[in-house]
């Protein structure tokens, strides 16, 4: 085995040896996070061995539906994506920012020292990896950075698992974020189970990943094996459940601010905010200030917030977006259009979670399509209806 492992050189890890990989991660002091079954879905949590993984499960997802099914095909990663997100480890739903104590002078503030854990997350989908890169732009690359995010990110080891069996709400191909992870991972796996064999094509994307590969002592993949993985991913890219036409999408949504289609969506949207809770790129937060009963100690906590709540846009007098229509329009326009102006990239990675977890099944790809089609079709403009009586002189 040569000592220099270059990125993306392909190796083979037998499925039965998956625990060896986990053992190396453990030895290096990582807490291993992976997919498990809980509350009838696939969620992320600490795992100890490969037996904790959702072997033989498949999730069937669609607008407002998620069902976990036992398939017994012996694959570890045949599920698509669960409702939970990798982002919760870097951008926790609830986080203490600082505490303040009154003193003689006034008060003094102590920032919270968030000691991040050394985490290794296995099972990150390429769409989630793309979302992580987007969150990096927000929290780590802007004029104001989040130090807690940056620290946690440094301590994070990512083991991506490419998608060979996308779901009915997936459209990562449209958003160019999958089904294969191209960069941003330490290690990437592609699971193949056919012809009586069960193995992973494994490659590294960073020096840290290469180091682990070296320790794993896998053999290099053969040409046939590489082709098998390539074919699997090629097939996957053709099995996407949804499609989103992104041509001119930025201007399309801005042009259609007054489109009556928004009223139609508003009739169904409950403004429950589920979509923002399950979206891997949503980053809105609010700050909550509180003090103890004696009024001598105060704290500030940061919590996830959603643009769907009415007081999200409240300024003295009232909310700028009181209607569900305005809030849904804001969410989708931000995600697909304004995001590009703000961060140079779309805010959507095509994971389909917002479609699955919307209680009424509102579909972001459908709404984008409806807006686009309303432009090309001869739409009757909502204006005066003339009943001409007689003729003009």
């Amino acid at each position: 085995m040569n000592n220099q492992i270059s990125n993306n050189e392909a190796f083979v890890l037998e499925a039965s040896n998956l625990d060896e990989l986990l053992a190396i991660l453990s030895k290096e002091g990582h807490t291993i996070i992976g997919p498990i079954i809980k509350d009838q879905c696939v969620v992320h949590d600490e795992i100890a061995s490969a037996s904790d993984l959702p072997l033989g499960y498949r999730d069937s997802q669609n607008g407002g539906t998620y069902r976990l099914e036992r398939k017994n095909h012996g694959k570890f990663f045949d599920y698509v994506v669960g409702p939970q997100l990798v982002k919760k480890y870097l951008f926790p739903a609830i986080q203490k920012l600082w505490e303040a104590k009154r003193d003689k002078e006034g008060f003094s503030v102590t920032q919270n020292s968030n000691k991040p854990h050394k985490l290794a997350i296995i099972g990150i989908r390429p769409c989630e990896l793309a979302a992580l890169e987007i969150q990096d732009k927000i929290f780590a690359e802007g004029p104001y950075k989040d130090p807690a995010y940056i620290n946690a990110r440094k301590q994070l080891l990512t083991i991506a698992v490419n998608c060979t069996n996308p779901g009915d709400t997936c459209f990562c191909v449209s958003m160019q974020s999958g089904p294969m992870a191209k960069s941003g991972y330490d290690l990437a796996l592609t699971e193949i189970a056919e012809d009586g064999r069960h193995w992973f094509l494994i490659s590294s994307g960073t020096d840290e990943g290469a180091e682990i590969l070296r320790e794993l002592k896998c053999r290099q993949a053969t040409e046939t094996e590489r082709m098998a993985a390539d074919n699997a991913l090629e097939n996957a890219s053709r099995k996407m459940g949804r499609k989103l036409d992104t041509s001119d999408i930025k201007e399309l949504l801005v042009r259609n601010f007054e489109n009556p289609i928004w009223d139609k969506v508003a009739e169904r949207c409950l403004s429950c905010g589920n979509c923002t809770m399950v979206c891997p790129t949503c980053f809105c937060s609010g700050a909550e200030d509180s003090s103890d009963l004696s009024g001598t100690q105060a704290e500030r906590w940061r919590k996830w917030d959603s643009c769907f709540s009415v007081d999200y846009s409240y300024i003295h007098g009232g909310s700028i977006r009181p209607s569900a229509k305005a809030r849904y329009r804001q969410w989708i326009t931000h995600k697909l259009s304004h995001w590009i102006d703000q961060f140079g990239i779309s805010g959507c990675v095509g994971c389909g979670r917002c479609i699955t977890w919307c209680p009424v099944g509102i579909d972001i790809t459908e709404e984008a399509r409806a807006i686009r089609e309303s432009e090309t079709a001869k739409a009757k403009k909502v204006e005066l209806s003339y009943e001409t009586v007689g003729k003009e002189s």
């Binding site: 600082w98 002078e105 503030v109 003090s291 305005a326 102006d341």
Partner: protein, 271 residues
Amino acid sequence: MVTQPFKVLRAKSETYDTFTVELAPIGNGTQFKFLPGQFNMLYVFGVGEVPISISGDPEKPAKLIHTIRTVGAATRAMQKLKIGDAIGVRGPYGTPWPVEKSVGHDVIIIAGGIGLAPLRPSIYHLLSNRNKYGKVILLYGTRTPDDILYKRELEKWRSRFDFDVYITVDRAAVAWRGNVGVVTTLIPKAQFNISNTIAMICGPEIMMRYTVQELNKRGLSYNQIYVSMERNMRCGVGLCGHCQYGPNFICKDGAVFSYESIKDWFLKREL
């Protein structure tokens, strides 16, 4: 990016719901430098944090001055602060008024209500560097004579020969001998060189909308006009998402915008 405790040196009531505080840092007295038009996130211990424009003189940063209107829990708590009390300060944030760009131009400043407070640092700057600018004009409108801010300072400004100050109120009792009418009615009284003027406007959005149209009718193009926008703010640094106005974050890309850059967003409802 954590709030710094400041001490209240002076507190003065301006009107029944507006007051001005002068602050100084507790402990190591760092000079608080800011540009006219910027704001701070002010924190009341245990209550909350709100964005308030800085209203002091940018060339005298040792005195940090804020004029605050009581509209909610945090600002009402601030009104109760006494001399010696502590208040948290984080900033300065936001884009400034175009005082540099206005060098060599006539400048017309139009303020409505509390909108005079974020414009005052700009006025101070223009007056301290008076010979860099052409005509300097202030048009100020409030609801009633009792709502006029900075009365004594306005009188001083009016007495200058190189600063045209016009004031109007929406309604008044007989004792008021000044103008009565909306602030846009003052625009015809102001004399300025149309092709070489910069306008800075701050006030309620409706007032800014009509003022921009009046100025445009008078001959100013949209890139000669600057407005200050307001939206819900939580972090002030572009990370919480609340202050978004179309693709702009009002805390980072504003609050001061050239009207040209936001003219398409300004007329959209529920944006």
